[in-house]
């Protein structure tokens, strides 16, 4: 992230962006290059999954300036004091995004630049009646026919929360949630750690239903054209991907600019139209076809449940432990 000044001739500054490596062929020309030109900066990408990238930042010897993480991992970074506080007044575009997206991990830290819905996908051809509720996954008919997210994946805690709901508890109740989870285990052939596993199982007929993020639904339809995605009647969950500035960064100013830039109508619109990310900027307007497969529209966003990541993070260790002991035999 430091600008090197050898050879007398000034080289452009370097901004290191840590991200998933998803849709690089879109981001590079459509997002990074315009920014590079405008700010005479070179954007270098460090790609990988949430956990691995966060670990490298933890070890404090990476050059990362800006880091994309799901809210669950962002919270860990925040709790460990790895990220710089963000002055929202310096990020004017924040004002234009959904309220839910403004401060997923608290007002002092980075916003979500996209929100995805976590709901249920299923294959109606293999089921006698349609799925409408989280509860339906507990049905006896589903024995050996579904998969559920692993507790260590981003959506794992969300599903645990759904279990708590299904158990009848209004507030999250850990014990009830786990009792309910025990009941669903005979239905699950396995837990999935990566969405690709879900997609593979679904397309090969190993499973006929399961909880999954909406952004992957298009892929499921490729394999099973009749597949359906629903927001369960109890409500889907909001998976929020955030941006944060790393404390060790020496390009905080520029990082702020970048954060503002990716929330802009222009960038948000482009990525929505390319079906890369669902927009959070409310100024972005999409036609019905453009919105297909995206989590879009005030109603949808409003209906989504949001987990308190601080609470999740404080409890995740215990949840994982209980999950391991009580559910995996």
């Amino acid at each position: 992230a430091c600008s090197s000044k050898d050879n007398g001739k000034e080289k452009p500054a370097k901004l290191v962006v840590s991200t998933w490596g998803f849709a690089d062929d879109f981001f590079r020309p459509e997002v990074y290059e315009p920014f590079e030109k405008k700010h005479n900066v070179e954007i270098v990408v460090d790609s990988g999954n949430n956990a691995d990238r966060l670990n490298k930042v933890r070890q404090a010897n990476s050059d990362v300036d800006v880091i994309y993480l799901s809210d669950y991992y962002a919270q860990q970074g925040i709790d460990e004091g790895l990220f710089e506080k963000v002055d929202h007044s310096k990020i004017p575009n924040i004002d234009n995004i959904y309220d839910k997206a403004k401060a997923p991990n608290g007002a002092e830290y980075g916003p979500a630049y996209t929100i995805a819905q976590f709901g249920i996908a299923y294959n109606p051809d293999e089921l006698s009646k349609p799925i409408t509720s989280w509860k339906d996954l507990w049905s006896k008919d589903m024995a050996g026919k579904i998969t559920i997210p692993s507790i260590t994946s981003t959506t794992g805690p969300m599903f645990l929360d759904a279990a708590s709901k299904v158990s009848g508890s209004e507030e999250f109740n850990e014990d009830k949630a786990f009792d309910q989870m025990k009941k669903i285990m005979p239905n699950a052939v396995k837990e999935y750690g990566q969405t690709s596993e879900f997609v593979n199982m679904f397309s090969q007929g190993e499973i006929v239903a399961g909880p999954i993020m909406e952004m992957y639904f298009g892929d499921l339809q490729e394999a099973v054209p009749n597949a359906k995605f629903i927001s369960p009647q109890e409500g889907g969950y909001a998976v929020m991907n955030t941006v944060n500035i790393v404390k060790a960064s020496d390009q905080k100013e520029l990082a702020g600019e970048f954060m503002n830039y990716i929330l802009s109508k222009e960038v948000q619109g482009k990525s929505a139209k390319a079906k890369v990310d669902s927009p959070v900027n409310t100024e972005v307007k999409l036609s019905e076809t453009e919105a297909k497969g995206l989590t879009y529209g005030d109603d949808v966003i409003d209906s989504l449940r949001v987990l308190d990541m601080k609470f999740v993070n404080e409890n995740s260790k215990q949840w994982i432990d209980r999950w391991n002991r009580e559910l995996t035999h």
Partner: protein, 262 residues
């Protein structure tokens, strides 16, 4: 082969069916036209092969991986072959300790090894990320090189080495002219195993990649975390082709026997 080996031949055939059958399925899926890895495939196309070359990070990471795996392999050979030789040729006190010492890198779960590397090689020793990656891969290749080569030296008739020396060959010369040619396939096995171990490695590389520096399998993992298309099938097939092509070149230049003891 005589008839008495027929049972064995059949057995071997079945083993290879087991080994290669899945590859056939993978190859078939790589030609799927749709966006999803599927079997049996429904359409036919080459688009996922094209896709490999459209993904920038694959190309860069592939180069890095090849450099690191080959370079590390070379360094591991330089360090490991002398050690393997010493361990097979001489009897000395503490040999079993040294033996255990050299296999120790494979005893340690990769994640932990990677973490330790990140903390000390990148952290404390302050090695640049590229160098650290290189060193880390050498460490994990070394045990394969040493153990595989020394096991192939275990039935070696060392008297021909004395013969070579008495004819005027130096120790080093003897090694290159009479030992090496007779354990070629052992060396080859070692190099292949080590290369693949390094080339496919995820656990360690994951910690030793950084901005702009990443390895091929890491990029593949990253890719499959986000896409479900047959690109990785196509990559697998392509890798097999590259290997086959490389072997073909070697065979043209030196004959396939290059890979085996006479």
């Amino acid at each position: 082969m005589q008839e008495k080996n027929r049972g064995l031949a059949l057995f071997t055939f079945l083993v290879f069916l087991f080994l290669l059958g899945p590859l056939l399925i993978i190859s078939v899926t790589s030609f799927e036209g749709g966006n999803i890895l599927k079997f049996p495939p429904e359409e036919f196309s080459f688009r996922w092969y094209e896709n490999i070359f459209n993904v920038d990070m694959f190309l860069v990471a592939f180069k890095t991986s090849i450099l690191v795996s080959l370079g590390g392999n070379l360094l591991a050979l330089l360090l490991g072959v002398p050690a393997a030789y010493a361990l097979s040729r001489f009897d000395f006190k503490g040999k079993s300790v040294i033996n255990a010492f050299f296999v120790s890198p494979i005893l340690i779960p990769g994640i932990v090894l990677g973490f330790a590397f990140l903390r000390y090689i990148v952290g404390t020793y302050q090695l640049p990320i590229y160098a650290a990656l290189f060193v880390g891969h050498t460490v994990i290749m070394l045990p394969f090189i040493i153990r595989v080569i020394s096991s192939s030296l275990s039935n070696f008739d060392f008297s021909i080495e004395e013969a070579a020396e008495s004819l005027g060959a130096s120790k080093l010369g003897t090694f290159f002219t009479v030992v090496l040619p007779n354990i070629k396939s052992g060396i080859l096995a070692a190099v292949m195993i080590a290369f693949l171990e390094s080339f496919n490695n995820v656990d360690i590389s994951v910690y030793m990649t950084g901005p702009g520096v990443s390895t091929f399998p890491i990029q593949m993992l990253t890719y499959v975390e986000n896409y479900f298309d047959p690109t990785i099938s196509a990559i697998s097939v392509l890798l097999m082709f590259i290997t086959a092509f490389f072997m073909f070149i070697v065979e043209r230049l030196m004959g396939l026997s290059y890979f085996t003891k006479r």
